[in-house]
């Protein structure tokens, strides 16, 4: 990997839950091509996938911007959905406001944000109810 930062951008469709995960799948392939450690790839893929699913379920779609440097992977999800009224509560395992459709597909168990925190080295959430949410994930390559 050279010293340049690789920047990637994905639009996340909020209307089709069945195709969610494509951006995470692509990032996994990119990291593999870059020769990143498989354990780091796995942690990145899981936390990004949870973020992508959240952007679909809760954000009603949005964008993902990914910055890959030799030292870290930074993923920023931005949506203009309803926002998170109580971030502390949203971080609790089991707390969920997901729709019945999301639950039928195996999600909405209130594990998304706790999982992202578990697998990433840093998780930062900024949200304004009625305006949207920005979620930043950082995974250190040399931790």
């Amino acid at each position: 990997m050279n010293n340049n930062i690789i920047t990637l951008h994905y639009d996340i469709d909020g209307t089709n839950f069945t195709i969610a995960g494509q951006a995470s799948s692509n990032i996994k392939k990119v990291l593999k091509q870059l020769g990143v450690d498989p354990a780091i790839i796995r942690r990145t893929a899981i936390s990004m996938y949870e973020g992508e699913i959240n952007t679909v379920i809760h954000g009603k779609g949005g964008v993902a911007d990914i910055y890959i440097s030799p030292d870290q992977i930074r993923i920023v999800f931005t949506d203009h959905g309803p926002g998170i009224a109580d971030i502390e509560k949203a971080m609790q395992e089991g707390f969920s406001t997901a729709s019945a459709e999301a639950r039928e597909l195996g999600f909405g168990a209130g594990m998304g944000l706790p999982n992202m925190k578990k697998y990433a080295d840093a998780l930062n959430i900024e949200s304004t109810p009625g305006e949207g949410t920005t979620v930043e994930l950082i995974i250190n390559i040399h931790s």
């Binding site: 995470s24 195996g106 168990a109």
Partner: protein
């Protein structure tokens, strides 16, 4: 455990065309909740589930799980199979329900890949 033994134990039908007869799995988990698979599964292995949708394949992809058995006789649609095929996954279906299928494999010596969580 070799997949031939898995297939025989579950009396499963292999639905994918990826070569499978020489593949071994060392652990398995049975779960219908993909959030829990993402949260608690520690090792790559085999996933048994009664949930049938593309997110099962995506979850397996993120977890580096290569073998999926759909229980209760469920057969995924061709687009789901194509997605799994594009990732070289091995997909099978068994008529047994989830609990029974997991128990049969466990009895044959295939351990779980979810460690006991602290209460």
């Amino acid at each position: 455990m070799n997949l031939k033994q898995v297939q025989k134990t579950l009396d499963a039908t292999i639905l994918s065309t990826t070569p499978w007869e020489d593949v071994d799995v060392h652990s398995a988990c049975g779960c219908d909740l993909m959030s829990d698979v993402l949260a608690f599964v520690k090792d790559q292995g085999m996933l048994l589930t009664g949930l049938v949708n593309p997110q099962v394949i995506r979850t397996a992809e993120m977890m580096d799980i290569r073998v999926i058995a759909f229980v209760r006789g469920k057969v995924p649609s061709q687009d789901i199979l194509d997605l799994a095929q594009s990732m070289d996954m091995i997909v099978m279906t068994t008529s047994y329900p989830l609990y029974t299928a997991c128990g049969m494999l466990y009895e044959q010596g295939l351990p779980g890949n979810v460690r006991k969580e602290q209460p």
